[in-house]
Amino acid sequence: MAAEATPLISCRDLTKVYRMGTQDVFALRGVNVDFIEGEMTAIMGPSGSGKSTLMNLIGALDVPTSGELLIKGRPLSKLSRDELADLRNETIGFVFQQFNLLNRATALANVKLPLMYARTPVADPVARARECLEMVGLGERMDHRPMQLSGGQQQRVAIARALAGRPSILLADEPTGALDTKTSEEIMDLLTGLSSEGITVVLVTHEPEVASYASRQIHFRDGQIERDERRAS
């Protein structure tokens, strides 16, 4: 059973407080949760429930007000800004709702981008970028710019970019939020496939159909976990 596996990501009493004017807003109130290697988890909840905040903390994009986050057993609070950047580069792949591609660069150049920032140089970044684009089914459109691609294709480029650095964690924030139903299904099939290949996928969504692809669903409300359900596999 999955509970026996070592947690890849461990959240200990995570609290995040934003200051809005004179008021303190609690985005997260002492969240404790583990993510197991290879598992696909959907985080759900109404907006403002803290699901995106948790995602940003796991992605090392933001720091918690209190509590500790461990990735592969490393406490993130001990890491410098540069070490966090390296962690994002080596261990984490991001997929965003708005794709966040560089419009002036080709699909290939977009996918290659994270490899340019790798501390240990990648032998052949172009070959790796091609490989990733082929993996997401865009082998024919490597030299297209984002504007010449459909929304679904752009999201595939973004997924290829997230995969380029061979991450162990893939974080997807509303990956189908800007896509139609059919394209959404294609993207979710792709993510499910990656999960079955051993990548830990954490996705944030408010659509139950999208969440149904995940083997585990965590429901957030008011900065706390309301429900944590695993689908019997």
């Binding site: 940003n56 992605g59 994009l61 933001d62 800004r81 540069d82 950047a85 390296d86 994002r88 580069n89 080596e90 991001f94 965003f96 966040n100 560089l102 002036r104 660069a105 981008l113 994270p114 340019m116 920032y117 790798a118 970019r161 650095g165």
Partner: protein, 410 residues
């Protein structure tokens, strides 16, 4: 991120907004172009001065009679003791002196057949050919024997030759210099115009000093073997200031001037005179170049402004780059590379424009211009420094962005 990759990415970003990149570069281009043009004109003027000094003899000192006042043209007063050949001989004994040209100068009318020409006469000895580095293109110079015998021979400049013997060889012809007949034995190699003392340096007749003294210009009532002034050649590498002081000391001894007494002569460094005269010109040139440099700085401020706008516009891109693993230094490098590329490119185009402007000035305004690669390297280097300096603040601002805030930026 490697530097080459950073520059490639910078160029891609600049090319994606061509008009903005061009307008941003414009300030740097104009600044560099003006610095280049001003420096080319200023250096051209300086080079012309150097050429004049070389023509006049950079290692010559001239001794005039009379108390030290005014320029080299003002003659000695009536009460001043004139120089004689004996002064010349004694000065020549000094070890650092290579040549002493004794001179008597004046204006004369030269006549050949129907033609006449008003020119300047130089009565001198053979050392004058050394101090002025003279040689003939036709015929020969006169020798020491002709100087001591007072031979009626003359060496003429090209202007005089053209005026009196247009097209024909003047050597062997006889001219009348202030009604005194003299045989032309040589025509000088052209020395050209000089904007310094002398004007047309080919408008000259040179005769032995004895001939000038005894027959053409007349001597001096108070002394025999009169000499108007002395042009003293100083040994190569000998310090001119020291030479000047030593000549002054020696002259005081020769002329028995008591310590504290007033000199009745003055030793003059003609190169200093030309330099002093041209220093105003040089100051003006430097001032213009400085003004141009200010415009370069204004251009740099323009670059900074646009880089700040660019950082704001591309906040999401910066956030994305940080999310996929760019360190602060990578972002800093990226924006510095953009500012540097803008300024370097502007500097290169500006230098080309500056060279063009200088050449145009040379053709239209007939300025002497000197385009040195040194100035181009300095100008382009300065624009690169401006790029780094004014690019640093926006780049650092980009590098310090919080990744999550940058990603959420609209």
């Amino acid at each position: 991120m490697k530097i080459g990759v950073a520059f490639q990415s910078a160029l891609e970003a600049l090319i994606s907004t061509p008009l903005r990149s061009f307008l941003t570069m414009l300030g740097i281009m104009i600044g560099v172009a003006s610095v280049m043009a001003m420096m080319a004109i200023s250096e051209g003027a300086a080079k012309q001065v150097d050429a004049q000094i070389a023509q006049l003899g950079a290692s010559n000192l001239t001794i005039f009679p009379g108390a030290s006042r005014g320029g080299p043209r003002s003659g000695g007063g009536a009460s001043d003791q004139p120089f004689t050949e004996s002064d010349v001989d004694q000065i020549k004994q000094e070890p650092f002196v290579t040549a002493v040209a004794a001179r008597i100068s004046g204006s004369v009318m030269v006549v050949s057949g129907e033609d006449n020409w008003s020119t300047s006469l130089q009565g001198t000895n053979t050392d004058y050919f050394l101090t002025q580095s003279l040689s003939t293109r036709e015929g020969r110079l006169f020798d020491t024997r002709e100087v001591s015998s007072g031979a009626a021979v003359a060496v003429i400049g090209k202007t005089v030759a053209d005026a009196l013997f247009e097209g024909t060889n003047p050597v062997g012809q006889t001219i009348r210099v202030n009604n005194v007949p003299a045989e032309i034995i040589g025509v000088l190699v052209t020395r050209g115009q000089s904007s310094g003392p002398g004007g047309d340096r080919d408008d000259i007749v040179i005769v032995p000093i004895s001939t000038a003294r005894n027959r053409i210009l007349g001597g001096n009532a108070t002394v025999a073997r009169y000499v108007g002034s002395m042009e003293v050649g100083i040994a190569d590498g000998y310090d001119m200031t020291t030479a000047q002081e030593q000549l002054e000391t020696r002259m005081r001894e020769i002329r028995r001037i008591a310590p504290g007494g007033t000199d009745d002569f003055r030793v003059f460094n003609i190169a200093d005179f030309v330099r002093a005269r041209s220093s105003t010109q040089a100051t003006f040139g430097v001032l213009l170049a400085f003004t141009a440099a200010v415009s370069l700085i204004v251009g740099g401020v323009g670059v900074m402004n646009i880089m700040l706008v660019s950082v704001t516009e591309r906040t999401r891109e910066i956030g994305l780059r940080m999310a996929i693993g760019a360190r602060g230094i990578d972002i800093l490098g990226q924006f510095l590379a953009e500012a540097l590329a803008l300024c370097l490119l502007g500097g290169l185009i500006g230098s080309a424009l500056g060279v063009g402007a200088a050449k145009l000035a040379a053709n239209v305004g007939e300025f002497p211009v000197e385009i040195s690669p040194r100035i181009a390297i300095i100008a382009i280097g300065a624009s690169a420094l401006i790029g780094l300096f004014f690019g640093f603040f926006p780049a650092r601002q980009a590098a310090r962005l919080n990744p999550i805030e940058a990603l959420r930026h609209e």
